[in-house]
């Protein structure tokens, strides 16, 4: 068991997949392996692909993987689909669009369910990125669940964020709203052979012209059509691939990559602190049945959450 971390560093798929599963299932002791690999990470370019359900994220991801393979790069893909809020089950269907890479040893594709996370990815995604990075993958593509306006968690993990839009989703005010429309480093208007493409392009291009980016990155708005014509489609996606690489160079040249990494590292450290400090307290309160008693007190309005929390904080101060 001890050698799991070593095997991941050697690029072993089965070990990496098992480690990711342990992270998803939050198996105690898994962090020992993360300790083994963490200091070896930081070499991969992480690309996020996000957009509404059915916008074409998986199909674009599949073609991007192909483009990267043509460029002799190894690729990791983390594809996220939603968990049922009712049964806890999930139907993970992103592989359907990416079948042709199944046997390519240079591609590692892993599906993940959101398991209750609301930000468009799952809690384990950040750690799974490290695992693929440690395996030596050159590029890691994270495909989010189909998102709405607000699920922007991907910005904490990806160096380059691609937002996929399709025509026919609303008026020009939609393009001005906060949230999803703010996070793109690259916009793709997919299914651009459909009605409404010209006006969507105009709205997004106008919005982009108003954006101010550090270092002068001009957010490209790229049109993709003709998924039925494989050659043309491949050419469009190859252009996207060029833009992704331009963006990476821009981040490095303008010393902006460190800023994005800092954001990710901060949020990871917050998580780790939560796990190391709050989780043991919660477990302890749960195990003793005290949690339920405190909830009862609150329901009866005998006290308030702030007073109780302060009491708990004092009690556990020197214990965790």
């Amino acid at each position: 068991m001890k050698e799991l971390g070593q095997k991941v560093l050697a690029g072993d798929v089965r070990s990496a997949s098992r480690l990711i599963r342990n992270l998803e299932d939050q198996i105690p002791g898994t962090h020992v392996f993360m300790q083994q690999i963490f200091t070896k990470t930081g070499n991969a370019h992480v690309i996020g692909i996000t957009g509404a359900p059915g916008a074409g994220k998986s199909t674009l991801t599949d073609e991007l993987v192909f483009s990267y393979r043509q460029r002799k790069k190894t690729v990791g893909v983390l594809a996220v689909d939603p968990t049922s809020p009712f049964t806890g089950g999930a139907l993970l269907g992103d592989r359907i669009r990416m079948l042709r890479h199944a046997e390519d040893k240079g591609v590692f594709l892993r599906s993940l369910a959101t398991r209750g996370s609301m930000g468009g990815i799952s809690k384990a995604v950040g750690e799974a990125i490290h695992v693929m990075d440690a395996m030596g993958k050159d590029s890691i593509i994270v495909e989010t669940v189909g998102v709405g306006q607000q699920e922007v968690e991907i910005i904490n993990h990806a160096h380059t964020v691609i937002v996929v839009l399709v025509p026919g989703m609303g008026d020009e005010i939609q393009a001005l709203k906060a949230g999803l429309m703010e996070i793109a480093d690259i916009f793709i208007i997919n299914k651009a052979d459909r009605d409404g493409t010209a006006s969507l392009y105009k709205e997004v291009a106008n919005m982009v012209h108003m954006s101010v980016t550090k270092g002068g990155w001009e957010i490209p708005v790229l049109l993709v059509e003709s998924v039925q014509e494989p050659k043309k489609f491949a050419e469009s996606v190859s252009v996207i691939c060029d833009k992704i690489e331009d963006h990476y160079r821009y981040l490095v040249d303008n010393n902006l990559l460190s800023e994005r990494l800092r954001r990710k590292t901060t949020s990871e450290f917050n998580e780790a602190l939560w796990g190391a400090i709050l989780q043991p307290v919660l477990n302890d309160l749960d195990a003793g049945g005290e949690m339920e008693k405190m909830i009862d007190k609150l329901l009866k309005k005998e006290t308030d959450p702030y007073t109780l929390a302060a009491e708990v904080a004092v009690r556990y101060k020197n214990k965790v």
Binding site: S17, R21, T83, T87, L92, I96, A102, F108, L109, S111
Partner: protein, 134 residues
């Protein structure tokens, strides 16, 4: 806290394109609280074995209605074994004649389901026989 979730790869090997049944199962397994990775039709045994390992599943469910089960199902079992992943349980379903059953069990299939099998009985079989790995 730690809770292992059963992960299932559902796949259709070979040239058979009739996947209504597989889709019904995918939905049923989702509703039973499992995580189901559905690959769709026209998979080679090699693709299925590779996907099972990349996804770290506990169970591979194969559906085949075209009559090629005698070759395709054991092939998946053998490929998983060759990769040292024979702890992954493989089951099959489809139009499987009575006389093919024993050879498939002998080849390492853990269960076979034929038309008329109740969804509940499949979920129960999985809950009884598939333990998520340690």
């Amino acid at each position: 806290m730690a809770e292992r979730k059963i992960r299932i790869l559902l796949s259709k090997p070979g040239l058979d394109g009739h996947d209504r049944g597989a889709k019904v199962l995918a939905r049923c397994f989702r509703d039973a609280g499992f995580e189901v990775i559905y690959t769709g039709c026209h998979q080679t045994p090699e693709q299925i074995a590779a996907a099972a390992i990349q996804e770290d599943v506990d169970l591979v469910g194969l559906s085949c209605l075209s009559g090629a089960h005698k070759y395709l199902f054991p092939q998946v079992v053998n490929l998983l074994k060759a990769e040292g992943a024979d702890d992954i349980c493989v089951i099959g379903g489809g139009i499987i004649p009575e006389q093919d059953m024993q050879p498939l069990y002998d080849a390492g299939l853990k269960a076979l389901f034929t038309p008329g099998a109740k969804l509940d009985s499949l979920v129960e079989w999985i809950n009884t026989n598939v333990t998520p790995r340690a």
